[in-house]
Every structure is written in C-alpha cells, then in structure tokens.
Amino acid sequence: MAVDSSQSLAKAADAHSVRGRGPRTGKTPGRLRRSLSTHWYAWAMVAPVVAVIGVIIGYPLVRGLYLSTTDANEANVERTIGVNHIPATYKSVGLDNYTAVLSDGVFWDRLTWTIIWTVSCVAISFTLGLVLANMLNRKLAGRSFYRMALILPWAVPAFVSVFTWRLLFNEKNGILNKILAGGGIDAIPWLNDPTWAKLSVITVNVWLGVPFMLVAMLGGLQSIPGELYEAAEMDGANAWQRFRHITLPGLRTVSSTVILISGIWTFNMFPVIFLLTRGGPGDATEILVTYAYRLSFVVSPRDFAGSAAWGVIILLLLSLFAVVYRRALRKQGEVW
C-alpha cells in the first residue's frame, strides 16, 4: 500500500516535471525535438544576448569569485611580456581573504560611511526631485525652460561636472570661497577638512542625482489622473491633503523603483568620490568601491585577490539590500 502510493507520487512528480519544466533527454527524445522546433526562433533570438552577457558579466563574475579565494596579485599571475615569461604561482587560500576583510576595522569604518553617504544622498536628492517635480508640474510661465535647466546636470558628463565642482571648492582660488570672502566669512576648507569634505561630496552627488529624480517624478505625476484632484477639491481637501493622499500614493511605484536604483548607484558611486577627493582627506570620504579600487590599482603589487573579495562582499550587500527592500514593498501590497 505504502509502496504503491509512493510510486504513484513519484510518477506524478515525474509527469509534472516533464510537462512543466521541459524535455527530459533519453526517456522522451521526441519532446526535446518538439520543443526546439516550436521555440527555436525564441532560442535563436535569446542566444546572442545570453552569450554576450555570459562573456561580459558571467565570466568576470565567476573569475572574480574564484580569485577572491586565492592569493593572486600582480606579481604571481601568469603573463608573457616579450622575453619575460612569468608563470602563475598563486594558490588557493579558501576564505582567508573574507575573514581578513571582515575582521579589519577599515572595512567597518568604510561600510558605516558608505551607508551614511548612500542614505543621505538618496534622501536629499529624492526630496529635492519630488519638490521640484511638483513645482514644474503646474502651469507656469517658462515651464519648459525650467525643465531644461534642471535637466542640464544630467546632460554634462559626470567627470566634467565633478572637475568643475573641484575648481569651485578650491580653498585658495575657488569661487565659493571668493563669494564667502565678499561676505566677510573666512575661507572654508571644503575638501581639506574631513567633515566639510563629506558634505562636499554629498552636495555634488545630490546635484548630479536630482535631474534623474526630477524626470522620474514628473513622469509619475503626469500619470496620476487629474480627475482625482478635481474630486478631492470638490470634497474640500486642501493642498497638503491632496499631496498626502493622492500624489504620494500615486507616485509609490515610481518612487520605490527610483529609490532602489539610485540607492545601488550611490552605493557604488565611484567617480564623484574618486575625482573630487580621491577618498581624502586621509580616508574620510572613502567608500567601499573606492577602497576596492585602491587595493587593485594603487597598492603595489596590485592585490587582485583582496580586491575581488571586497567586490564580492559589495555585491552581496547590494543583493541583500535589494531583496530586503523588495520584500518590504511586497508587504505593503506593492507588486514589483
């Protein structure tokens, strides 16, 4: 009896898997051929993408994972340069790199600052973007001019913007301190004092991030039906109530997406920090990615394994963030 039932269960599972998961080779060769003949077009279409992604994302990812479990550095990886042939002499060290990173105070210092940096950048640029989008969503004279002007930071390549900001921040000759001097205020060491440097990098990143928020929010605002506002007005809702009960819920899908995306971007925002302060003064503004960069490009010999371990940890942190964030949204009834 018991034997019977288990057999039938197994059979059922088997049948299910064949139907649901696609062909099983050997037993039912006909299905594979049938699947291929019906779906070959789809497979052919997808194949190049899969191949490209496999080469440019999959391979480095796997290679990075592998390197992070070795002691590879610039001096012991294999290469041939002219007459010089250097054989590979690195070896596996298991998870030593990870324990070294996690037991190092540097990692936790950098992580704390990275989180402060991400949260404040995203929060400020989101708020500013929301406010500006609301202002630009009304009918006002020269609206398209304002929209253009506010998108402008996005049109300029980031490194150009950052270098321009660096000139503005220059303690001796920068225009910001010249203006302050005109008002009788002492020069501020924008990039030379740890606290000011932190504020400066956040300012620049917010400046760069607002246009993205603005565009996304404007799009979201325009998708909210005008009737809702009319109906609310009829019911006697004031401006704040309309904002609170119509605009914000209407924007929820857009805002949850942009917050996730910009959170990940800011977490990994290498150019702003690197080009503005190089992580300085000291290591005050260094985030996790700039430290990983330092390991693999600044120290000598370049520490490929250590840098790979940092990279994997950053990837894990971001995946964790995305999963937790999505789960929190789903709990609020958001389908994303």
Binding site: E74, R79, I81, N173, L191, T277, P281, G282, F297, S300
Partner: protein, 423 residues
Amino acid sequence: MRRGIAATALVAALALTAAACGGDDSDSGKSSSGKLSGTVTFWDTSNDAEKGTYEKLAKGFEKLHPDVKVNYVSVAFGEANAKFKNAAGGNSGAPDVMRTEVAWVADFANLGYLAPLEGTPALDKADDYLPQAAASTKFKGKTYAAPQTIDTLALFYNKKMLKEAGVEAPKTFDEVKSAAKKIKSKSGKTGLYLRGDDPYYYLPYLYGEGGDLLDTKSKKITVDDPQGAAAFEVMKDLVDSKAATTDASDGYNNQLNAFKDGDVAMALDGPWSIEGAMQGKEFKGDKGNLGIAPVPGGSDRQASPQGGWNLAAYAGSKNLDASYEFIKYMSSAKVQQQTTEKLSLLPTRTSVYDVKSVKDNQMVQFFKPAVDKSVERPWIPEANALFEPIRLQMEKVLSGKTSPENGAKGVGDAYRKLLKDYK
C-alpha cells in the same frame, strides 16, 4: 596589433635588404645590421612647463634615424604609474620607452615589465653616471633603466618678500616659523606652502628629525620610530600656527600658483618647478628674485630625498632595437646638456657637469651639492607603495583627525602588512 604586424614586416623587409647589401656590423650583436626603422612610442611624464622641450628633444631622434618615427605621448605624472601597469600587464597599449620615476624601476622590473639593458646600446658609457643615480636603475643585479635626470627638494623663496620682512633664508623649520610670523606682519602673506597631499614632501621633515622610512639592511621598519611622529608634529605645528598653508588636493598646482603669484614667500620644491615658477608674475621679469636654499632642517639634520627620472624599455616592445637606441639618445650627454640649458634640470652624467653652460647655470650650482647630499630611498619593488600610507596619515594628522603619534603608527602598521619579511 595591426601596426605591430606592419612594423614587424617593415623591419623584416629592411633587414633583408640590409643583409643583401652586406651591411656593416655594429658592435652589439643584438641589433641587426643596417638602419633602424619603425615606430618608437615614448611616454613622457614631464610637467606642463617642461613637456614642450621634451617633445622637441624626442623628435630630434628622427633626425638621427630618419626611418624611425617617434610617437611622443605626454602622460600626467599622477596617472603614469597606473596607466603603464594597466597597459603592460594587459599586454596592449604599453609604450616602447617609458620615463619612469626612480622608485618605479624596481617595481616594474620585479613584475617582468622591463627589458634588462645590459649589453644593449641603451647603456652607453655607464661609468659616466652619478653613482646614486645609477643605484635606482638596478634590481637583483641587473640594470633596467638609464638615468635621465636627478633631483631633490629644496627651499624656494621669494627674495624680495624675505628682504622686506628682514629675514634670511631659514635653515630650520623653527626659523621658517619665526620668519613666517615676520612676513605675515609685514605683508599679510603666508610664509610657507606645505604640501599636505603628497608624501614625497614628508621626507624632508622625517630626515630632518633623523628618521627614515626603512632600514633595508637590517630589514626593519623605522617610520613609526619617535622621529616619524616628530616629523608629523613639526608639519602640524607649522599649519596650526598659520606659518604654513596646505591643501589635501591639487597641491602641486596650488603650491606653484601661490608661490609664483607671491601669495606665499616660501615653498619646498624641486628643479622640475623652476621653469613653471619663472612664468609667474613674481619672477617673469625678474629671474633673480627666485632664491633657492637647502631644505630647512629639523632637530637633527638638513636632508631631502633623492628623486629623478629614468628611461626604461618595455619588455614586450615590438621594436626593442630602436627603443634601446632611443634610450641611448635621450640619456646621452648632449640631450642632458640641452635639458639643463632649457629647463635647469640636473644631468645624471658627471661629464655634463663640466660643460660650461651647465657649470654656469645658477640652479645647477645650487642643486648639485644638494643632490650629492640627498638621501637615497629604498630601491625595493614596494618603494612606490610606501607613499600611499603616508598620504593617508598625513592628511589625517593635518586635518586634526588623528595625533602625530597615531599617524606614524598607522604608517608603520601599513608597512608591516606590505612588507612581510620586515619587522
């Protein structure tokens, strides 16, 4: 790649014609008989004020060897090291000849990026080189570069400003401090510009207190000895007492601008900045206003680090024969003499110091004795990596985030991680 094939084909074709003509044998067995040809890509790291002169000199090689094209590329000093490593390690885009900072040679050679130069035309009249310049070109008993120029730091000062304040060129950092006070009260200007963003400029303070980075003989890390902390203390005191001004970024340009425009009276700098300083309003019509004195000393001595530039051939170069010849040309006595005449840079060949135009050059007269007494840095593969931990701690100390003692300790700890066999 395509260019590589073309160049190889060209070389092969020329070698054949040369062989057919029964060309003359050159003394080095390696270089094939006949004319050199192809392209030599040269990465130059000289600064904005110098690079025009270097480009002209490099192009002069084409006159000697009409079939060789010199592809001159100017690379910013700050990026050159990383850029070369990316290109050399990735086996694509590396230059044939690279102007390397003295501390980079051992590093690049250790990684297999450089071609050894013994027995090649590149090492021409090697006995003529100043011994301390030659020391930086050797790694594990082989020579990997030819010295091009040698330098050290000194105190640049604005003679007029010091005279107005009634002070002599200071000999110690204490004197710098008191001179700065007088300058401030007379003209309102700051006394000294202190490079807070570049570790190289920490060395005079460290040596001045009697310290050093490492003791390579006994394999000992000495940077976190009390002298290391004292050096940070002196720097911090100069900044805190407003005798000096500093920056954590753009220091090179800020310093040069502040000095040549007369915003500061003094700065520690090297011969590479003479040309740039002369273009500023304080010195343009009045070259004699630029005063140069030995670096101020600390409580122990007056000493500054030995620097300079070497020329190295990339091991993977497709045109090594022409590269060797190019190095020979660029480090030759004649070219060194020209760089001194035009840029006041110091030659690495003893014979060049006997040339009249070099002997009469005021900057050389000053810098040569300073170079003779300059302190050699540890010529180990990690030499260049020794700087980053200093930069990190120096900025922390100057911005008041950490104490001089902890700063020195931080540098020492970083060295212990870097140099496994040191204690």
